[in-house]
Symmetry: C2
Subunit: 343 residues, 2 copies
């Protein structure tokens, strides 16, 4: 990143240009800037400044005789330095609060609802990711016989998430013996984080005499699978249709790329997972994400907290988005969500 000292005029003009471009989706010319926003200078002067900004890589021209549009660096500088943060109106806050105050019977439900709310309020793609499972604390393990040779393991953690896993056994196991085995697992493992369990399970169960040895052995072998990252994080996306109406996705090639991103999921999960560690609202612009399909797109994200574990909520859309508005919206939504989950 080169050294960037902008004059006052350059800053104003860049801000005005971005504001206007975000609203109209059309390249912005010198005349519009000079007349519609009264800067007290003529179009010719603006032209000179635009030329300077282009030199600095903050704006560019789609073709020789068109207005300018912001580059990714332009947006970056705008978000970091130029943006005046907006405050949500009371009705907006109320709306979000009410929309999230649903009866939910599983954590997935409220996250899905959150994605939906974000999508609707922003007309972008709303995304959420469930808390990192690794850090969750085990509450209870249960074993249920499904068929003669198939046992289902149910793992419940403190935050209310449940995962299941099937294991195959050689022969039928008595109900009482299964219960006893579950008791052993609960006694030895509950209260530990899943990460700890994964690292120390072999040790903890080695000398165990009680319970069914085969089930215990299988549990130890399979726990990796069950507690693995991929099964831990669940991505919710909502509002794909919103994306369609965005001007940048009229281009079918672009659209295709974006939907591929949505369907592959793991890169999106990676992106959001990283944001879990941030404590403030984060804006990721285009190539910064290092994801092919995110070219031309930005993400506004914020981590939320549920007990000791954390996840991420946010919106994704074209780089041409109303950053100020989205940032305050995502910020507030994340806060409300944390509040509800911690109750």
């Amino acid at each position: 990143m080169m050294q960037l000292d902008l004059t006052e005029r350059e800053r104003t003009i860049l801000a005005v240009l971005i504001d206007h471009y975000v609203r109209t989706a059309e390249p912005v010319g010198s005349r519009v800037i000079a007349t519609r926003y009264d800067l007290g200078v003529s179009p010719a002067t603006v032209r000179n400044t635009l030329s300077d900004l282009e030199e600095k890589g903050l704006i560019e021209q789609p073709h020789t005789s068109s207005g300018r549009i912001p580059t990714e660096s332009g947006y970056r500088l705008y978000v970091d330095k130029l943006l005046k943060s907006e405050r949500l109106s009371a009705p907006e806050r109320e709306k979000i609060k009410r929309a999230l105050s649903i009866d939910y019977s599983a954590i997935e439900d409220i996250l899905e609802q959150t994605s939906r709310v974000l999508a609707r309020l922003t007309s972008q793609l709303g995304v959420t990711i469930t808390p990192k499972f690794d850090q969750a604390v085990l509450n209870k393990v249960d074993l249920v016989q499904l068929t003669d040779t198939r046992v289902m393991v149910i793992v419940a953690v403190r935050s209310g998430i449940v995962r299941t896993i099937l294991i195959e056994v050689d022969s039928n196991i008595e109900v009482e013996r299964l219960r006893q085995t579950a008791d052993v697992l609960n006694e030895k493992l509950s209260g530990l984080s899943l990460g700890e369990i994964r690292r120390t399970i072999a040790e903890r169960l080695r000398a165990e005499e009680r319970g069914d040895p085969q089930v215990l052995k299988l549990f130890m072998e399979q726990h990796e699978h069950m507690l693995s990252e991929s099964s831990g994080e669940e991505l919710h996306t909502e509002g794909t249709i919103n994306i369609l109406s965005q001007k940048e996705f009229q281009n079918p090639e672009k659209l295709r790329e974006f939907l591929t991103l949505l369907e592959e999921r793991h890169s999106l999960i990676d992106l959001l997972k990283i944001k879990t560690f941030a404590n403030d609202i984060t804006v990721t612009i285009g190539a910064e994400a290092n994801i092919e399909g995110m070219k031309g797109c930005s993400a506004v994200t914020r981590s939320y907290q549920a007990g000791q574990i954390r996840g991420t909520v946010g919106v994704i859309g074209p780089t041409r988005m109303e950053y100020a508005k989205l940032m305050s919206l995502v910020d507030y939504t994340a806060k409300v969500l944390s509040e509800i989950l911690s109750r």
Copy 2:
């Protein structure tokens, strides 16, 4: 539906026309039919027949001087009477079998995988829906204390599906008392179908003295929520990108409609749920589905069986699809899936 007696020639020409149209996505003219497929007649004769078929509503012209394309009735007749069913090649069968033989830890996993396989093999949208929960037999209920005032109910059914629900209680309940309450529920309810439970739970638990009365009461009040249809069926869709490359979705309006359908989900769930009752492969063409977003689309579906309960797998794509191929593919996939789930 009008009376439809087709001559031998009409039948052949309709079949040829559909075959050709499905491959090329271009309106088919008389010359192509007469020359590329040697029917031993001239284009002029074919024109006469085409005119007759149009009269009967089986084909139509996009505009005066273009070739013909099939109407929905045309496809219907083709599927019902004209289609020669294809047999999957051994390598294809092998491919499906192998793709579905994954280690799965939850039923959802293998259904997701099934959607993916169908999507990839057909280049259409692959869809699956989890078995109707109502008919499932309860295996075990478990109660887990999450916080002082929050208890999680875990319901496991025989086929390996698990649902959770949160209930709010007034005050902390002792572990032993909670366990006792769970025991009561298991004793009274396990082995019954969820539908039966929903209908008879009040009666069954009325005179119960043991267990925590508050939890029992809440369970009775909330079971409706937990066992409700909507929470029982889960839809998996895979391969949205495939749909993009289909010629009929170049039209953005059409595409938008389709993606809306995908995101609303409940109409799709309804559609697939009905098919659960069919015992054979089913083809639903366009308006037959009575769903707005399905205009111009067809679905090829087949129910599968897992223990005593059933679900549906299939593919959805534009009406212009390779019915014969898709039917055999979906059919075989459903069979393999049933097999795996019943093991």
